[in-house]
């Protein structure tokens, strides 16, 4: 097979990988089947004995059609998020068309570049396991393709040779050169390894984007140590929540045993009640009423100001950290006391009932905590926790006019006067709940849909994302639904806040523990319905909380359903590898190195001590052990050097295939020749392997007359010994050695 045939074969492989990666990233089985099979067939149709190719006019026409289709997809509704997809589709068609056209060097180069563009488009579209594997394969395949392409393209002018009619240039082929193909394969393999190692290293150490793009599923992208304390709606995109295990939770009833029926736990993390229009993000105010809670190791410390009756309806929650390193204490409503394995200082916010640790330095090493919780806390309990009625600062009307208008419009459908909040507390709380329920009903209606793919959620004309969600797009995930409800409530004076945490329903009966995964992340809303009471309202459409809509299900995901662990591993270790994981990895590496060094040193110390005791050398045992170790190391080094020199001498004398006895004799008699070659090597004259000895001697003479003269004599002596059947006696061997001495003097005495 010629070089160009090889280049085409590898180019086809690269193109197929790129096409498959893009089609899978698009989650389109039709696209995959069409372009993949069509491209594969091109090898048979255009490369076989038929060699049928499209005429130039047909290629031009098809390319025009492909570009027209691409333009047609973009023109009517220009959407930046569609650009990678459209580019990918057009490029896919162009590659297929090119595969059926007559291909020159330029066309092969074009196919290489287009395939690379397709790989980038695929990487932009998705981070799924299958796409990842295909992109990885394409990356390595590209190494092979480009190396072969460059060699074949550069050799096109070839090497000049003389023929009868003059000099012509023939194309040199790797296939024709002895050992070239093996050398190339070996070099490509080395390049593979280098690229893989370097890519992995850069991937591990490349600083990640510290800007969060979401609170829950954006944890992986936030690069922060803490549980996210805000929700950003600035950059909507397709989310792929990880199955990474974050916490393990034991839930014990008032009797100290797990409840017989598995309940769904809502673990509250961050409480967000303010919206920043410019940054399009929710954040929480720092309350002045926060207080410190000092917990001694193993003892429960009450969070309340006054005693709470813990006899009734008090549950215990034991939390173990698995993959989450946070200062936020996740807790169901309403925590009443806390205990840690170690002494710790916590900060308790009475207004929100949120707890966090103060000791940031130890945030990464908290192994867990215990909480006592009253899910149905009475008014008196809440009063004990909060001390006095929570005096929230007056919540300003939500700062986006379009959202306020939407709230008025929805509320107008009822008989409530949404514009005036009642001064009577009881009426106010009832109004709050009723309006919140109305808004919840609106958001959970069929007009709104749940999706985690927000690539088409494009911010336009400076419009606020919540406005776009409520009035135009009407799709999003839980953060958008919670934001929408909270914004609507605040627009009509209802006290509302967003809670970010986990909705946990995965219960392992054998270990009697809940497993909290990153995909359990959720956001909901709490609406104030009493002096101390807040009511949880979840506006996210039921049943879609952690599932993707059917149209978003890909065949690839179904295919990989059976290999969920692999998918999970991919997501946790690769797709969701972020600054936090980088930090954890660095800490692990640091700990591992420290432990290894410490244990190594301890082991050496122990060995030395034992040796000292057994030999009764006392304090000098370490010196003795060190001496022995050094002697052994030096012996190994000397043996290694000797072995290498012996092998080199064998190769130089060409006795590798001789019997042991004959080889030994040849090595003894021909040692002077090996020494001479070593000397010349040191003198900067290494013998090329393909240069005959006498020619090499002439070359040596051209650079150093005296050395050349001596070496010529050595060569003649060597021929006589090695191939002439001479058996030198000890005197003759001494003479041969004296030639080497003369050569050394000739080479180095004048320098």
């Amino acid at each position: 097979m010629g070089d160009w045939q090889s280049v085409r074969r590898h180019n086809l492989g690269f193109a197929l990988l790129a096409l498959a990666a893009f089609a899978v990233s698009e989650r389109s089985i039709v696209l995959l089947a069409t372009v993949f099979l069509t491209t594969l067939a091109s090898w048979v149709i255009t490369g076989g004995w038929r060699r049928r190719m499209l005429p130039a006019w047909a290629v031009g026409l098809l390319l025009f059609v492909a570009f027209a289709i691409g333009f047609g997809r973009v023109y009517p509704t220009p959407d930046p998020s569609d650009i990678p997809s459209v580019i990918g589709i057009v490029v896919s068609f162009v590659i297929v068309i090119r595969m059926y056209a007559r291909r020159s060097i330029g066309d092969e180069r074009q196919i290489l570049m287009l395939s690379s563009v397709l790989v980038v488009a695929a990487a932009l579209q998705s981070s799924d396991l299958l796409v990842g594997l295909l992109v990885l394969g394409a990356t390595l395949m590209a190494v092979n393709c480009i190396v072969r392409f460059r060699l074949a393209a550069n050799a096109k002018d070839g090497t000049p040779v003389n023929v009868d009619s003059g000099r012509v240039f023939v194309r040199e082929s790797l296939v024709q050169r002895r050992g070239a193909s093996q050398d190339l394969k070996r070099t490509i393999r080395i390049a593979f390894v280098f690229v893989l190692v370097m890519t992995s290293a850069i991937f591990l150490f490349l600083p990640r984007n510290p800007q969060p793009t979401g609170a829950l599923f954006g944890m992986a992208g936030s690069g922060q140590l803490e549980f996210p304390n805000h929700i950003s709606l600035m950059s909507p995109q397709r989310l792929s929540p990880s199955e990474k295990e974050l916490l393990s939770v034991a839930w014990l009833g008032p009797d100290g045993n797990p409840p017989p029926n598995v309940q769904v736990l809502r673990l509250r993390g961050a409480i967000l009640d303010r919206y920043d229009v410019g940054a399009a993000e929710w954040f929480s105010r720092r309350m002045a009423s926060e207080r410190f809670v000092i917990v001694e190791g193993g003892k429960y410390q009450s969070l309340a100001n006054s005693p709470i009756d813990e006899r009734m309806n008090t549950f215990t929650m034991r939390v173990e950290f698995r993959g989450l390193y946070s200062d936020v204490v996740l807790s169901p409503w309403a925590p009443i006391s806390i205990a840690g394995l170690t002494s710790q200082v916590y900060v308790f916010s009475p207004a929100t009932l949120a707890v966090r640790t103060l000791d940031l330095e130890s945030a990464g090493v908290i192994t867990g905590y215990d909480l006592r919780v009253q899910p149905f806390a009475s008014e008196s309990t809440l009063e004990s926790l909060q001390g006095e009625p929570v005096r929230l600062p007056p919540i300003a009307t939500f700062p986006v006019q379009a959202v306020r208008d939407a709230a008025q419009r929805i509320a107008a459908e009822t008989d409530l006067d949404s514009t005036i909040a009642s001064q009577d507390p009881a009426a106010r709380w009832a109004r709050n709940l009723r309006l919140a329920r109305i808004f919840e009903r609106e958001l959970t209606s069929e007009r709104f849909s749940y999706t985690m793919d927000l690539r088409s959620f494009i911010r336009r004309d400076g419009r606020d994302p919540i406005d776009l969600f409520l009035n135009e797009y009407r799709f999003g995930h839980c953060e958008y639904f919670a934001s929408g409800l909270c914004a609507l409530c605040q627009s009509v004076g209802v006290d509302a806040r967003i809670v970010v945490g986990f909705l946990v329903d995965e219960y392992d009966k054998s270990s009697q523990r809940y497993t909290v995964r990153e995909s359990d992340g959720h956001a909901w809303v709490e609406v104030r319905t009493g002096e101390y009471q807040w009511t949880m309202i979840d506006p996210t459409p039921v049943g879609n909380i952690s599932a993707t809509p059917p149209e978003d299900e890909s065949w690839a995901q179904i295919f990989w359903l059976l290999s969920a662990p692999l998918e999970s591993l991919w997501r946790d270790q690769v797709a969701q590898f972020d600054a936090r994981a980088q930090n954890a990895l660095a800490q692990q590496a640091n700990t591992w190195i420290r432990d290894v060094m410490r244990s190594g040193w301890t082991s050496i110390e122990q060995t030395a001590r034992n040796a000292g005791e057994s030999s009764r050398l006392g304090a000098y045992g370490i010196v003795w052990i060190g001496s022995v170790a050094m002697t052994i190391a030096l012996s190994f080094a000397a043996a290694f050097i000797g072995y290498r020199r012996w092998r080199r001498a064998q190769r130089a004398l060409g006795v590798t295939r001789l019997g042991r006895a004959r080889a030994r004799v040849a090595m003894r008699d021909g040692a002077f020749y090996v020494d001479a070659l070593d000397l010349l090597d040191q003198g900067g004259m290494r013998r090329p392997t393909n240069l005959p000895l006498r020619s090499f001697a002439v070359r040596v003479a051209s650079e150093h007359a005296r050395a050349g003269e001596i070496f010529s004599e050595i060569v003649e002596r060597f021929y006589a010994v090695r191939f002439g059947g001479q058996r030198p006696d000890s005197r003759r061997r001494a003479d041969d050695h004296s030639l080497v001495v003369q050569l050394r003097q000739a080479l180095f005495a004048t320098r």
């Binding site: 980038v120 990487a123 990356t139 000049p160 490349l206 690769v574 392997t689």
Partner: protein, 367 residues
Amino acid sequence: MIGRRRYHLHLPGVIFVALTVLIGAATSQRRGNLLVWVFASMLAWIIVSGIISGGMMMAVRMRRIAPRSGRVGEPLIIRYEVTCESRFWPIFDLRINEQIPGKWKSAYLMHCRRGESITVEGELLPEVRGRLLLRRSRCLSGFPFGLIMKSVEFLQDSEVLIHPKVSKLHPQALRRLLIARGDEGRRMNSARGGGDEFHGLRDYRPGDSLRSVAWRRSASLPELVVVDRSAPIPWRLAIALDLRITEPAQTRDAEEQAIAMTASLLHHAEQSGWEISLEVLGCAAIDVPMRRGGRHVNQILDALAAVDLDAPRSVNGAQHEVRRGIDLIIYPGPIHSGTPRSYGHLDHCVAISATSIAATCGDSSNG
């Protein structure tokens, strides 16, 4: 001697780096870790390209094997012996360039195994006559990805004499030029000795070859006689090239044309079996005696190649000891040169300008 080692970023490399930067910018905007992988692999490609080409080029040793001479307008083949001294990296995709002006076709080496030496050829099309000094050769390779070009310069002094351009002349060119002198250019006698032509008969002497015995004639004579053979004395052409400085001075192009025409005439004469000699007036000690043969032509062309027009020359009219027997004097300039030249006692020879020769003797088929 190994000179500088350098990395060069050329256009494909710049484009690749720009794309890498763009994708890097995209990774900072997107959360997709796969995009980070693509970005990392692009960075890795740049680094690995530098590592492999750097490791490969560290082991390249190159020796120029330059020819003694070349000719203007004809490809000059320069050979390079490339050795791969690495025990790890073979050499791939190596290009060798000379750091000289002129049309140069690089020597290309596709592959050289570890420890192997391979000779490759490059082509130079010399445009100027004279001594061509070759000093710096550059080995260049973009292997493996062509993103970064790595070069190593080798310093090795070589000198190549570039002969003047030899034009093809009309077959009757010499006859046309020397017609005024009749057949004086040829000796009428031939010398006894080697050759194939019959010279005469003589008595046999011991040592004569039996094959030279004239058997039929000896049959009628008491003694053996042998055939004496001789070779014809070839035509002779002695050319003097007049490069003395005139008033007004001749242009450098005209002088070069005269040199080239002299070379062409002498080459043509030698090809026709003539004995040739050359004398250059105005330049010091360039006098090549009358001989024939390819080696002699090369000697003459060497002499013409070595003519240094920048060196001090004598002026027109100055006494110049011109050898007797010169058949043709060639001087630079147009057909009717403004200033008549004085050749003293050489009034029996033909003096003609280079342009005239080109007009009268140029091969029509040669343009």
